[in-house]
């Protein structure tokens, strides 16, 4: 349920990025890593509610997933980790342990405002 706090921060960040306080924000794009622990539909629900009566009212919240990677500690073979279910301990090529890289991204990439 921390999506409520995250939605609040997204809205505040988006409003602060708008060129002025009267221009309408149409779209907010965020990037969330595999391990960010964000449930997009829940996040959108809170975002829509919090954005009511602000200049971002009705804005579309676009959630762009960013994959973590599993990188072999021995041969450096790299494999995308799209979702948590595809985590594997051993490298597919040489069988040595994988290390996880990235996946904790959580940032506002851009906003779109009315022309």
């Amino acid at each position: 349920m921390h999506e409520a706090s995250i939605a609040r921060e997204i809205l505040d960040t988006a409003l602060a990025a708008a060129p002025n306080a009267s221009i309408a924000v149409r779209k907010v794009t965020i990037v969330t890593g595999t391990f960010a622990g964000i449930e997009p539909s829940c996040l959108s629900l809170y975002f829509d509610l919090l954005a009511e009566n602000t200049q971002a009212a009705g804005a579309c919240l676009e959630v762009v997933p960013q994959s973590a990677a599993m990188v072999c500690t021995a041969c450096s073979a790299r494999q995308e980790l799209v979702d948590l279910d595809s985590l594997i301990a051993a490298c597919r090529i040489c069988g040595q342990p994988n290390r996880i890289e990235g996946g904790h991204e959580l940032y506002v990439r851009s906003i779109e405002v009315e022309e």
Binding site: M1, H2, S5, I6, E9, I10, D12, T13, A14, A17, A18, P19, I30, F35, A36, G37, T73, L84, L87, I88, A89, P97, N98, R99, I100, G103, H104, L106, Y107, V108, R109, S110, I111, E112, V113, E114, E115
Partner: protein, 218 residues
Amino acid sequence: MKIEVGKAILHLNDQQSRDNLGKYRARRLVGINVLASPGAGKTSVILQLLDRLSADFSVGVIEGDVASSIDTETVRSRGYPAVQINTHGGCHLDARMVSDAVDQLEQAPGGYFFIENIGNLICPTQYHLGESLRVVIASVPEGDDKPAKYPGVFTTADCVVLNKSDLMGAVSFSLARFEGFLRTANPDTPLFVVSCTTGEGLDDLAAWLRENSPRPGQ
């Protein structure tokens, strides 16, 4: 019109976390963030560590709970300072809450304090609190598949504690399976198998914390 932003969603918490670290350092304190699901034994492990660290350092606890001050009273009854944070439904501690709580923590300079987070393996993960170390606790009765089901929090652990080892024979639990799942999420984090009932592993855990955190006062 598109405007590039490129700003961390939790940038305010991240900034507060950095401010917290400065505040802890000014008091020559080292913060340790303890994450686990409800009932894993966070308070019990913390109490064992307080007993092992208090001979050489000042110690204290910030207790995070949705409701009640049961844990704070337990810690205080053992003679250690503690401050309670109640989130009233909130699922994680944030850096601002901990900053305010540290101001109330009556702990002498030169030591360690533990931040017992809300029992939750998801929401607290992204919130840095100015800690120097992050300890993730799992326990035997929860099952050996915890790191597979909640890998995110285990990827951020500086060390992992498997508590209630004395129940290993009483419930179905494979240490090899647990460790296999843990290694998938985090190949090189140290794992301490402990029991607050028998005392197993707790001296090693306390020693590791001392060796792998910044020395209080430096």
